[in-house]
Symmetry: C2
Subunit: 308 residues, 2 copies
């Protein structure tokens, strides 16, 4: 089924204990659509860049089957830029510089050919922009998944809570879920978020995996234990892209299929951190993905099916 992703396409400059990069392609929607490209057949992007954004990077997206008809290129303006530096533990980072540039007044225009969208992924950006996208779709998608971040909880809480009412799945990390609900227990945080609108809540816990909450059911997804995280940038977006891409491909939004979507998302995220930026998820084969998913099966199976 048709997937629409809205979010940032950006330049990132990264520094980790393993090295640093010049400006490379980044942004939530970049990671989401690249990750989803291994699953979804119709992979539509709405985003904005400046005229400094190289055609070669747009070609990279297109070669992965990303439809860039909805990618606005604003003449005389510059692309969103973020640079960050990770601490030695790789779990925390400092933002070195942010230049909003074209994102400051991003107007998410939906091409007519995207109106058949069944799966909508609202990548991290201002809640007002995310809400505009929902309003501009003439038919409500079958599934709307929302990602957000601490910044919007702090500076756009009313907008965000209005938006949250309208989505099916909220994807946040553990700290964001606590910040949003003022509940320390993730079980309580998820329950509170479910009273705010979304039927389903996914709480990402990085190296500790992810939790999927749906009605009174919980799924505890493992993360692949890694010797080394080379660069965590984009791992959360890659996770979301694998998740919604798998759902769009299989066109099944049951709890059981969402579990499988989370395993695919986790597998994609485990690739993402192996190299700088999006390099690794630009160069994957279906065999590599299936092999990684098999590792997740072996990692968490304990042969107790008989006791259910």
């Amino acid at each position: 089924m048709s997937l629409l992703t809205v979010g940032s396409v950006a330049f990132d400059a990264l520094e980790t204990p393993f090295g640093k990069t010049d400006k490379i392609i980044g942004g939530a929607a970049t990671y989401i659509t690249l990750s989803a490209s291994y699953f979804a057949e119709k992979n539509n992007l709405v985003a904005v860049v400046g005229d400094d954004f190289p055609q070669s990077m747009i070609n990279d997206l297109q070669q992965h089957g990303v439809n860039t008809e909805g990618l606005q290129i604003r003449q005389g303006e510059k692309t969103f830029f973020w640079s960050g530096k990770y601490h030695n533990d790789m779990n925390t980072r400092d933002t070195v510089e942010v230049q909003l540039n074209v994102m400051e007044d991003f107007d998410p225009i939906i091409p007519e050919s995207y109106q058949d969208c069944q799966y909508l992924m609202l990548g991290n950006t201002a809640p007002a922009i995310q809400r505009t996208v929902i309003e501009r779709l003439r038919t409500r998608p079958k599934l709307i998944v929302l990602d957000t971040m601490n910044l919007w909880i702090e500076i756009a809480y009313p907008d965000l809570t209005e938006l949250i009412k309208q989505v099916d799945v909220l994807v946040v990390n553990d700290e964001e879920s606590r910040q949003l609900t003022r509940e320390y227990s993730l079980v309580r945080a998820a329950a509170k978020i479910r009273t705010m609108g979304p039927k389903t809540v996914i709480i990402k816990k990085g190296e500790h995996g992810a939790l999927l909450f749906h009605e009174d059911r919980i799924f505890f997804a493992p993360a692949l234990p890694l010797e080394e995280v080379f660069d965590p940038t984009g791992a959360g977006d890659t996770f979301a892209g694998g998740f919604i891409g798998y759902l769009a491909k299989t066109d099944n939004i049951s709890f059981d299929n969402m579990k499988r979507g989370i395993i695919y998302g986790s597998a994609m995220a485990s690739f993402c951190v192996e190299k700088f930026g999006a390099e690794r998820i630009m160069n994957l084969t279906q065999d590599e993905i299936q092999a990684r998913v098999s590792e997740f099966v072996k990692l968490s199976a304990f042969g107790f099916e008989e006791v259910i």
Copy 2:
């Protein structure tokens, strides 16, 4: 098969955001043997208390099938006492008071009837004491599991590393594994510990579950997501007791069976935190335990067995 547990039997006084207790029964060996009592048939204890330790508490252990022949009662001396206060997040605590008392010169005497021990659980205490126990067993047990803590890594590192060489399984939490190896990645920490002696390493991550490392294989065990942790005291020991109790009962130390042992240990730990101290694990039924294990199965199964 016969299980021998060595460690502290103590008085604890606890304070959590939910309330506080007077002196209640505590100590690593108490939690381990109570937890193991639901599995192991021969459940032998070596520990020491003072004459202030009430017979009623000894009766409680005995009623759970714990053999207290090896429990020394030292006249005119006082039982080990620990009091602690948990912070609001329940993940950190302050030690309010420690009185070593009889533990200061604990000499672990092994009753003759314990010499058939096949499974040995060295509960957290000084490495020199733990090592004495191994030396006093005429036949090496089939499996030796060692628990330790940050204190011994700090003040008894040479003793501890000598001891670690002699055990089959080391059980530590994530921070202890990092402190012991100076590796941040848990995969690397476990690999380094395995070069120090133990073939198998279990890293406990509290609410994030546990990792089991054995040769080149890893098992990622979930933890039950809880609305509320009432009192985490003893959860790690209860986990270890369920683990080794299950192995002793099934007399199978394969990787696959260790996975199941970890699920039983995790189930027991999830009960432990529901009430103060050992209260909950003193009052469990086999049906409750099986139902909890079924929850773990549902929590982590994702129906992808076909892709292995």
